[in-house]
């Protein structure tokens, strides 16, 4: 027997892709999807690359599929919004080599700006949706997804959620899938979606959908599991595991393929039991379809339509309904649950521990310089979004990746002056900041764009991007120079050392006062990648009057002490606090006199 492996859902998906014969993997990082590609990058037999954004990633994977290879593309749920344009039309063209799109959804918004339920995209595009419930299924379903993709000539969505992606479980490896090679053959009416061809393809999509319905009825992915109680539960994904644990005696219709819905299997469950509930996170996706069959089911009137579920929530919500005396057959259904009565109460009144900008992070320096001017800072998504929280309160907006520059341009256009700035990370700039910058230039919008170039995609765990040239296996590829890129567009651009606050502050001030559109690239490698300390900071207790200017930086290394501030051992010696102190109370050790230049 092969050794049982212990994989997160994400690792299982990557290994499952290799086992299924996929040779191409790409994506754009985003929690909870990121580790799929990072794992693939460590595996033999598959090429893995980060793309500039999800749209580009999907388009790249389509190219690989067209060439006859099996390709997998990974992203977080909101990434599919970015990729929605190619995705919707890909349903029409279909694939050559199998193409699987992994959408990692985030119920409960552990690290996301919304909690959209991407099963809706499966319905929208009329493509199959597979939902594994544990690591073994994550591993196995990838091969199922590729097989479906090629058999039905369709992209296949594989949906994970945070608990599957980051949950871990045992995986028994399986033998590798053996593939017939596929060649590329020119087929204009399939791949060129001008209206006359697209109309034809659309017909085929509708036919394909009927065939997929029939497949859902037969597929071993959709299992009717017999129980001993007179109740049934329909569930998919990780919600199935919660329901299984809460109601071990119930009948189950476990949907490994949640779209299209196998209605005959649903009807068969209703013949077996007196009552049926649907257990699903977020939208009543399955529930509404069951109701549309005219079958009475309990779902969102009992269970929440937001956030995550767990076995306790499921038990509490459904127990009153499922254990009610059944109308037809009379037998007790569930023993009372033992532990729920004496549930522990959360520990109240404790200090919260929100994430903060790291000590020494130069994003803080940029915010400090920007705060000296009246421009409304339009924000973007990255570590720097943390600057919107107290005490910095340094950002006015955060909508989605790449939104900052367009919002700035619109704001300034509407007011007819330079009233807003944009703050955007380097990775986000490449993701979707270049296109709005081009737009702002073309439309002659005024504005100041600060690119926080920390030489990495810090927020999601330090992935490479075109600015650094780093690939997921840490090898070095070619790099794109942000300054040259901006200048190539025609936009004025200055690169400054963000570790030198004086220079940074002056460059931002100059751009605030200058007419038109300009970019300041604030360059300094992420402090988490720079391990050595820049210097020791001393406090002169006599001069410090605890005015709070330095504490307002929100630096975790500064704390008020008795009548003064103290510098804790997490200090990196960046010296920003020295810059904001008006009384010269802070200085570098070894510098001559307070306020003197420190050694950097």
């Amino acid at each position: 027997m092969e050794r049982t492996l212990f994989f997160s859902g994400n690792e299982a998906i990557a290994h499952g892709a290799v086992r299924a014969g996929a040779v191409f993997a790409c994506g754009y990082p985003g929690t909870p999807s990121t580790e799929i590609l990072e794992t693939a990058a460590r595996l033999e037999g598959i090429h893995a690359q980060w793309c500039v954004n999800e749209k580009v990633a999907l388009e790249t994977a389509v190219g690989a599929s067209l060439a006859g290879r099996r390709a997998i593309v990974t992203m977080k749920h909101v990434g599919l919004n970015v990729a929605a344009d190619p995705f919707m039309t890909l349903s029409l063209t279909g694939v050559n080599g199998g193409l699987v799109i992994v959408s990692a959804d985030d119920p409960g918004m552990h690290s996301s700006q919304n909690e959209q339920d991407n099963r809706a995209y499966a319905k929208f595009a009329k493509v199959p949706m597979l939902e594994p419930s544990d690591s073994q299924e994550a591993y196995d379903f990838v091969a199922e997804a590729f097989a479906l993709s090629e058999e039905f000539d369709t992209p296949v969505l594989l949906r994970s959620t945070t608990r599957l992606s980051h949950g871990r479980g045992q995986v028994i490896p399986r033998v590798s899938v053996v593939l017939e090679p596929r060649d590329y053959a020119r087929d204009i009416s399939k791949y060129v979606m001008v209206p006359q061809y697209a109309r034809l393809r659309n017909r085929l999509v509708l036919e394909r959908f009927q065939k997929l319905r029939a497949r859902a009825e037969e597929s071993s992915l959709n299992v009717l599991e017999a129980g001993t109680a007179d109740v049934g539960i329909i569930a998919a994904g990780v919600a199935y595991t919660y329901a299984r644990e809460a109601f071990p005696k119930a009948w189950f219709l476990k949907l490994g393929m949640s779209h299209p819905l196998p209605s005959r299997k649903v009807a068969r469950l209703f013949q077996q039991v007196a009552r049926v509930a649907v257990v699903e996170e977020l939208d009543p996706f399955i529930e509404e379809q069951v109701r549309a069959l005219g079958l009475p089911v309990v779902g969102k009137e009992a269970l929440p339509a937001d956030g995550e579920l767990d076995q306790d929530i499921v038990f509490r919500a459904l127990e009153p309904f499922l254990s009610r005396r059944p109308p037809r057959r009379r037998r007790p259904v569930f023993p009372p649950a033992p532990r729920l009565a004496d549930t522990p109460q959360p520990a109240a009144g404790l200090p919260v521990r929100p994430p903060v900008l790291c000590p020494g992070c130069t994003h803080r320096s940029v915010f400090t310089a920007l705060r000296r001017h009246k421009l409304a800072p339009m924000g973007d998504i990255g570590c720097y979004t943390l600057g919107a929280l107290p005490p910095l309160l340094a950002l006015d907006s955060c909508l989605c990746m790449g939104a900052s520059i367009g919002m700035m341009a619109g704001f300034n256009k509407a007011l007819g002056r330079k009233a807003a700035a944009a703050v955007i990370g380097d990775s986000t700039f490449f993701h979707s900041g270049v296109t709005p910058l081009i737009d702002a230039y073309y439309n002659e919008a005024d504005g100041l764009v600060v690119v926080l170039d920390n030489r990495t995609t810090a927020m999601t765990g330090h992935q490479g991007h075109p600015g650094t040239g780093l690939r997921p296996d840490r090898s070095q590829g070619p790099t794109v120079d942000i300054k040259k890129l901006c200048e190539g567009i025609g936009v004025r651009c200055h690169t400054v050392d963000a570790n030198d606050f004086g220079v940074l502050d002056a460059a931002i001030k100059a751009e605030v006062d200058a007419p038109g559109l300009g970019v300041v690239v604030a360059l300094a490698p992420c402090v988490l990648m720079v391990r050595e300390k820049a210097g020791e900071i001393l406090v002169d207790d006599e001069r410090c009057n605890l005015c709070g200017l330095c504490l307002d930086l929100g630096c975790p290394a500064l704390a008020p002490a008795e009548g003064t501030v103290s510098v804790t051992d997490v200090c990196t010696g960046c010296g920003l606090c020295i810059e904001v102190c008006r009384r010269g109370a802070l200085s570098y050790a070894g510098a001559s006199g307070a306020g003197a230049e420190g050694a950097r």
Partner: protein
Amino acid sequence: MNGTTTVSLVGVGGQGILLAAAILAETASAEGLDVKASEVKGMAQRGGSVLSTVRFGQNVWSPVARHADVVIAMELLEGHRGLGLLVPQGTLVCATTTRIVPGSVLRREEEYPGDLSAAAAARGVRLIAVDAEALAREAGTLRAVNVALLGAASTVLPFAAASWRRGLAAAVPAKILEVNERAFALGRGAVSNEEVGP
């Protein structure tokens, strides 16, 4: 629920919670048990609270649980918070000498909580207080606080010493295995039998 044991590991990003959870999961696996685990780590690197859950038993379905039989806390404040996860008669194993003070406390908007043993007693929870920093230092590196604490927690978990050895070897990179084995042994030895009880 039914025959499944839940262990939650809590602390602050960067404390090695995920590694400790991986060792625990591999150990339970080595015992031939079904194991599920999950973690919330989105902002872990930015100093947020981290929670990792490992569940084991004959047949474990869900990777998450709201309540734990054992909570392993790498930091005092998180130990206080971890009390809210424990079932009555549960056990809290806490690195009580480790304090990582959050910004709101530094800014004096909130207060760092005090005595953990009183809070644990009020809930009828057993507390095993460990000076994990001292143990890790003795083992040779402060970074092994996580594993020293796991060693202490091993005294209340139903696994054989051989399974722990296999769990450590499976989860810890070879380079740092030896120092972590030392830390584990020191943690395990630090909990006297009276503290654990019968």
